[in-house]
């Protein structure tokens, strides 16, 4: 793209001394305004009439440090849950997306089943799915069917999230222009080959950010399985809270999730930025 007129003045086009002065001034302004705003907020909070009680119930240092090792150890269960579930969700979601897109009347029942699955598992609250699978099925006592709560927790999370993820994949597949399929088919590639080598690689690349977003959602939702008796980080914190009548362990849970999630969010941002840079000037499609 070419724009008429002189190029806009950016810091990079200034002479070095001017640039360093501008940068210094911007940094100083940011620091001063941050100190004033955040410092002011902190002052207001700690001088509020009930601050002492709040601090005692939520931010108790000794309780925090005492509970942290146990929380981190219990978090390992959450990590196993979301890693195993995600490894199942990514292929299952893709399969459902492909089944929904199959052409022709012969595939109508398959399409219908896939659509019903997505509709149902997006509609039903996750906690209900977890509860029914985690308590209901082991309660039937059918021989050969696992009764372990962890197993059903993985199944429930996989079923819930595959429905969402299949919709993400489907949006990605739909975003690839039909002319790409026409080009592939015109060369004699079959529908499946076109999907595998031409459509899906482009579709998946485009939906990596929303997939990571769903992955973050999955990480957080692993705490829901505490309701069927899986002892994970939230359950562990609840036990500690009940023993001490203090909410600090739950603040610890919050911190653990923040520490894990923020790097993933920044990583997603970087992927998006990289994809933008790669599509080059003018954006492309």
């Amino acid at each position: 793209m070419t724009a008429g007129g002189p190029p806009p003045v950016s810091p990079a086009s200034l002479v070095p001394r001017q640039r360093s002065r501008t940068a210094w001034r911007a940094t100083a302004t940011a620091v001063i305004s941050t100190v004033i705003v955040l410092g002011g907020l902190a002052w207001i909070i700690v001088h509020a009439p009930n601050w002492a009680e709040v601090q005692q119930d939520f931010f108790d240092g000794p309780i925090f440090w005492a509970s942290l090792p146990g929380l981190v150890a219990a978090f390992w269960t959450n990590v196993k849950l979301f890693l195993i579930a995600e490894a199942l969700i990514l292929p299952l979601g893709l399969l459902v997306a492909i089944l929904r897109g199959l052409p022709g009347p012969i595939f109508t029942p398959v399409q219908g089943l896939a659509t019903a699955y997505v509709d149902i598992f997006r509609a039903v609250p996750g906690i209900v799915v977890i509860y029914v699978l985690g308590f209901g099925i082991p309660g039937l006592g059918i021989p050969g069917v696992p009764t372990e709560q962890f197993f059903w927790a993985v199944v429930a999370l996989t079923l819930i999230y595959s429905a969402y993820v299949s919709e993400v994949y489907r949006a990605g597949i739909d975003s690839v222009h039909p002319s790409q399929d026409a080009a592939a088919r015109s060369l004699g590639l079959s529908r499946a080959q076109s999907m595998r080598h031409v459509i899906l690689p482009q579709a998946v690349r485009r939906v990596i950010p929303p997939l990571l977003n769903d992955f973050i959602g999955l990480q957080k939702d692993t705490v829901l399985v505490s309701y069927i008796g899986v002892v994970e980080i939230f359950r562990t914190a609840q036990i500690k809270q009940a023993a001490t009548f203090n909410f600090t362990p739950l603040i610890g849970v919050a911190l653990v999730f923040i520490v894990v999630t923020i790097p993933l969010a920044r990583f997603t941002d970087r992927l998006v930025a990289r994809d933008k840079a790669r599509s080059g000037p003018g954006g492309g499609r």
Binding site: A183, A184, R185, S186, L187, G188, H197, Q202, G284
Partner: protein
């Protein structure tokens, strides 16, 4: 006596209530170059897409080298391997290198071993001045280079027939010549081609025969000199008059 490279009989095609092709009859001999001209919407692109079976047809029959490709039970993918098509917007695969664009179909559809497919592709790319672009992604190439890669991609399948759908219409004027020269070379090498084009000068140079399409019918056809300079149909004359006024002939 060999069969015609392409024979079309009574081809009809509608999109909803819009009848785009209203009975096309066309015969193209081996090594013949036929140019389709006509206003936008006259059915040129649709005709090419029907020949390649990218659009299902409503009525009529199409034969390639004597085999009916519109017969029931014909293997679509196998037919398309024999017919190359190059699109106005190139339609290269943006996530692959130039080399992979060219070798994908030979490797996957014809099961040519990778090394041989790569060697053949490299040779074809070199022949069309693209040797140094082999490992680039399409986005880094100029429009003319991209369109030449698209032509090479179609040629890599060794088609019996090549269809070109307004392949220079999306190009900057200074890039048109490099693509037209490639097509001239193909014509000289004996490739059978059906070319939809707005480049009248090019059509006059290269075509053995020109067909003028109007509202879904071929209403005039003949040698370039006759159709372009001494058309018999008033509609053809009208169309060419507008082209001349636009300075395109």
């Amino acid at each position: 006596m060999t069969a015609d490279a392409l024979r079309i009989e009574g081809l009809h095609k509608s999109f909803g209530t819009l009848e785009v092709l209203r009975g096309i009859d066309l015969v193209v001999a081996e090594h013949e170059v036929v140019c389709l001209i006509g206003a936008s919407g006259s059915g040129k692109s649709t005709l090419l897409r029907c020949i390649n079976l990218l659009e299902p047809i409503d009525a009529g029959r199409i034969f390639v080298e004597g085999d009916e490709i519109t017969a029931a039970g014909v293997h679509l993918d196998r037919v398309r391997r024999r017919i190359g098509i190059v699109f106005q917007a190139y339609n290269l695969f943006p996530h692959m290198s130039v080399l992979d664009n060219v070798t994908l179909a030979p490797r996957k559809a014809l099961r040519v071993p990778s090394a041989r497919a790569a060697a053949e592709a490299t040779e074809l790319l070199a022949r069309f001045g693209l040797a140094d672009k082999r490992d680039e992604v399409p986005d880094r190439l100029s429009g003319g280079q991209q369109q030449r890669v698209a032509i090479v991609r179609a040629l890599a399948m060794k088609p019996d027939l090549l269809l070109l759908d307004e392949v220079t219409s999306a190009l900057d004027p200074e890039l048109v010549a490099e693509v037209l020269n490639v097509i001239r070379e193909l014509a000289a090498s004996g490739m059978t081609m059906v070319i939809a084009t707005h480049e009248m000068g090019f059509a006059r140079d290269i075509a053995d025969r020109i067909c003028f399409l109007d509202a879904g019918r071929i209403i005039e056809e003949g040698p370039p000199e006759q159709v372009l300079t001494d058309p018999t149909e008033p509609r053809t004359r009208q169309f060419l008059q507008r082209i001349i006024e636009a300075g395109r002939l």
